[in-house]
Every structure is written in C-alpha cells, then in structure tokens.
Subunit: 341 residues, 2 copies
Amino acid sequence: MKRKMTIQEIARLAGVSKATVSRVLNNRGGVSPETRRKVEEVIRLYSYTPNLVARGLSLKRTSSIGLIVAHTAERLSSHLFFIEFLRGISAILDERGFRLIVATAESEDRYETSCRSMAEGGVVDGVVVLGVRRNDKRLRYFLRAGIPVVTVGRPIGFPRVDYVDVDNAGGARVATEYLLRLGHGEILFINGPREHTASLAREKGYRAAFRALRREVDEGLIVYGDFSFESGYETVRGFLARGKAPSAVFAASDLAAMGAITAFKEAGIRVGHEVSVIGFDDIPYAHFFDPPLTTVRQPIYEMGKEAGRILLLRLEGDTGSERLHKTFPTQLIVRESTIRS
Amino acid sequence: MKRKMTIQEIARLAGVSKATVSRVLNNRGGVSPETRRKVEEVIRLYSYTPNLVARGLSLKRTSSIGLIVAHTAERLSSHLFFIEFLRGISAILDERGFRLIVATAESEDRYETSCRSMAEGGVVDGVVVLGVRRNDKRLRYFLRAGIPVVTVGRPIGFPRVDYVDVDNAGGARVATEYLLRLGHGEILFINGPREHTASLAREKGYRAAFRALRREVDEGLIVYGDFSFESGYETVRGFLARGKAPSAVFAASDLAAMGAITAFKEAGIRVGHEVSVIGFDDIPYAHFFDPPLTTVRQPIYEMGKEAGRILLLRLEGDTGSERLHKTFPTQLIVRESTIRS
DNA sequence: ACTTTGCTTGAAACCGGTTACAGCAAGGAG
DNA sequence: CTCCTTGCTGTAACCGGTTTCAAGCAAAGT
C-alpha cells in the first residue's frame, strides 16, 4: 500500500508547478514538448492518477450519473428489465468514462433521502429514472437542483423532461390483432397496474386492434394485475373456475403470461394447441418456456443505451432547450404459445 | 432551479462562521442550543444540503463503495445472481447511507482502466468483487491502493482478503447423495468451467457423495460446461445421440439443468418420471419451470448483505487484521424434477 | 537598440467542505 | 479580586485538483 501521490508531489519531482502538471494531465496546450515529456515520465514512474474527488470539486462535475430504481424489492419482471437496461446504459457510460451510481431503497422514506442527497449532494451530473409515474415526486428534486434527467417511460406531467420509451400501444395492438386474425374472438387481457403509464398505453393498443378489425371489446375481459406471475395465474384460474375459458390471453408481461399458461396446464388445457397466450417483454426465459412464448419484444438494452446517450448529450450542453426523446418500436416474436383457433 | 447554497452562505445568513455550521451539520458538540437552533432554522429555510464531493475531499472518504462485476456481457445465470446480490448489498449500504457505484465493462482493456480509476481515483472507500478468479489481477489494484476488498467466492491466492462464499462442496454433495439414494447409479455431472473455483468445489462435493456411499465415480460422466442453458442442452443431446442415456443429471447451474431437461423433453423422455435432474442456484424461474426444478439453493441475497456488512466493518476500522469471511450453507429444494429410480 | 508578439510557466485564488487552535466571556474556587 | 476552568465561537489551514492572470523570455519586427 503505497501512499497516494498528489499533483503537488508530482510537480515537485518533475521540477515544475501544479499548474503545469494539470495541463499535462488534461492535454491542455501551452506546454513545451520537453516539459511535457518530463512530467509524463514522472507520472508514469510513480503511476500517478489524479484524485477524482478533488477534480470533481474543482470542476463541479463528477463524471458520474445516477440510476434511480423504483424499489429494490421490485418484481422479477422489473429485475430482468433492470439488468438489461443496466447493460445498455453501462455500455455507453463506460465508453465515455462515466461512472454509474445505482440508487435503490428498501423503504419509501429512505428512498426520499437517497434521492435528495443524490440530487443535491453534487455527486452526480445527471440521472436516469426508471419506472416513472405521473407527477413523479422524484423528478421534482432533480429538476429543482438543476440536474438533467432522462426517464424511462414518458414522464406525464413533465412536458420538458427527456425520455426514452417503447411503443406500448403499438406493441399491444399488433399482439391483439395477431390473436384476432388467428380467429380468437374473445381475448382476455391481463394488464399491468392501472396507474402505470405503460398499462394505459397497452390498453389503448388492445382496444385499437378491436376497432381496426371492427370487433367489440368485451369489457369483462380486461383485467388489471401487477405484471407478476401470480397475477396471470390467479386471473386465469378465476376464469376457469367460473367456467369461462377464454380462447386467448394477452398478458402485459411475460411473467403474467407464464402464470396464465401454468394455470391452463393445471387445468389440462394445452397452450399452443387449444388456447393461445401472448406475453410482453421477451425476457430471456421466454424461449425456454414450455411452450416457448410468443411475445412482444422490447429493445431494453437499446433503450438503456439511448437513455445514456441522451443524458450525455445534455451534459455536454450543446443541445437546445428542445425535449430529447426516443420511442422504440416493439417486435412481435412468434413462438409456440399461439395457434389458429 | 435555485442556485446551490454553500456552507459559507448559510453561515453568513445565520450570522455565524462556517465552522459552526459544520458543527451543527455533523452534530458535533460545542454549539450552544440557541445558535444551533438558529443555524438549523436557516438550513431548513433554504433547504440546504452540504456538497458531498467537497466533504469527500476533506474527509478522504466518500461513503460510496464499488461493485465490480466481471463482465457486463456475462451469462444469464450471472445476471440473476447479480440482481439478487445487488438487492442484498443495497439493503445494507442504503441503511448506512452509502452509495453504490457499479463498475462494468464491455471489453477487457476498458475494464482495466475502469478498475484502476476506481482504485486510485479516491471515489470509493471499498469494493466488492464479483466472480473472483485465481490470482485475480483486479484485486492487486485495489490492494495496492489500500482499498478494502471483499470478494464473492474464496479469493485463491489472496489469503488475507475478506470474502463471502457459499458451501459449494456441501451443496453438491447433498444433491449427489440425494440422487444416489433415489437409486440412480450413474449421475451425469454437468459442471461449470474448470478454472472457476466454485466448479472445483462442486466437483469435490460430487466425488465426496460417491465416496460416502462407497460407490465408484465414472469419470466419463463428469463434463465441463459454462453454466449456460446451451451447455446443459448440448451435453445431454450428445449423450443421448451416443445412446448413453443417463438416469440422472446434476447440473452446476439451474440454467444448465433447464437445458438438460429440454434435451430430454425433445427426446421424449419425461424428466421427473423417467429421469431425475437437479440444478444449482434456485433462480426465481426454477419453480415455474416444467417440471418445477429440484435444485440447490444459494442464499444470494444474504450473501450480498453479508458482503456489505463485512466491508462496512472494515471501513469503520475497528477490526483487527484477521480475515473476515462467511460461508453460507446451501439448501436442497426438492421439487418435481427428481424421482426414485 | 527597442518594442512587439507569442509561447511557456508559476503564483495564487478558487471549488465547498472539516478541523486544529486560539480567543473570549462567564462562572466557580481560592 | 484574581486565576482557572469551561463552553462557545471564529480564524485559518487543509484536502487535491483547475484556472486566471501576470510575468519571463526568446524570436521577430521596426
């Protein structure tokens, strides 16, 4: 454990001033070639690296951005979303020398303090907020502190905040139309939570599909869940118990779709033969499932990358005041859980 | 976007000096009750929060710790491990007001720079290293820089580095014995990569089970994979193609077990009826699988928590020079992929 | 020979906190 | 009434960088 070198010591050893060392470190001009060489020599010799905290204080930017996760104890589907997203954003940040600070919290009040300290402590230059809600309190902290924000999902109530999103309505519509075209008249729609913006958009898509094919929506077939396996499982069990077996299910998450399929299986109904089920997300397990799941793929990794790109663009400041955003298309991945009716 | 307050301005507004404000902020003694009240009043009024970067520079600690992930583009099994682990460690760090910086990298050389800057830039007080290998280069950086390290998995070659681990040998032994006791004579062992320490320990456990029951190990039944679905799938396909259908499989990961099961299914062999398969990990999908997977559970969340605890203990400094470590027990979770032979 | 120009360099201020130390007032002991 | 605590507070140095500004100096221009 060598003691940590400072710029001052390097300067002394190279026989120059701190200012010159700083110029060399940051490739500023105005240093003679020989001085530069000499300083670089000393830096290499002592394998000096500048203290990033001190640099951060001086520059008022830290080259790190925060990733604000809704709740640590979130559901599995969120986990898989999270990990893919993380990979995407890391790829970009890493490339540009930025660090990623992940903020999570077990409880609601801890969450607040965690957000506040991140917003006001000057430890991050910008943040990406996952699982944004209507009039999200968290956003206010960051905006008030003047920290650039990119949300994942359209931030309703914040018309100027940058975001990345996925075409939820379009994806849901394509999936629903696919089922309708397969000849399924009644499609049970197991949606996410009512307050979730994504849920609303997906419901819109579901209805649009019926409208496009001039069919009536049976309101009794729209059910709100929470994206979980259990919500799919219980919903289908409930329908089967009441003797109302739907011929097709469109679930707003792959997990819920898997739950639905499991319920059908237990009732001896073969999915992909007698009934069709479509999920949403295309989580990595979707194609290992039995039957392999037909689903609507979200390009989560790409969304992570794009969120990172937008944030960095903002940080570099060469953007106008126009809102930056990108909505990604979805893709229907047809596997074996769907069949012509 | 209000301009950010500094301690100086608060001091001026409260009619005291920076030092006094600092004392109030940190609950130091030696401040009269009325002064304290006055300062707190001003702080609240302007909802001032101290700049954590400046504090970090002054204190030479930043209250943030790094989580070093092997590679971003790792396999799915690692992902699920990662997310659970992250939840665990976050729970602890969060409780103690620490931030988590996640270091990942797409390529090997970026990875190096990322580690180095984290080790030497003074941005983290300590690190947790995931997926540690023999004589891991990364550890050297951190140790050289005097940064406390906790590894996940026993760090071979570093006898003084703290770690958390799971009883890989014990878990593998229990699983293997369970299969042997079910009457399976030949157990195909689809292990992880040879160089992985966990793989070695699991193989040891596999052999120990045979020895305990006075049976011979058939060396041809020990195969090295990479924990992936594909490695399980291909291995079983290979065996079936050569007409050597094993009656039981023990896979070193749930993913590999699922791959094996899929291969059996495709060959028309019913797992949980004709053959038995046991996995390792107990990933969240294990019980949704068809058949629900018998597996060896690792307490990943708890391991995350413990890693955090150990690291914080180290940072508080009130520990001796003794190595801190904890090895967690595994638990055999019997579901429906195993059957008496 | 004297000014101008341009390049290189260092001194010093600054970023926003923490803390050692000294000063000062009030209260108690002798 | 003096001396000594004791408690509160402010001054100033420090953490380790960046950056402004002025100065030094050599080459070029007049």
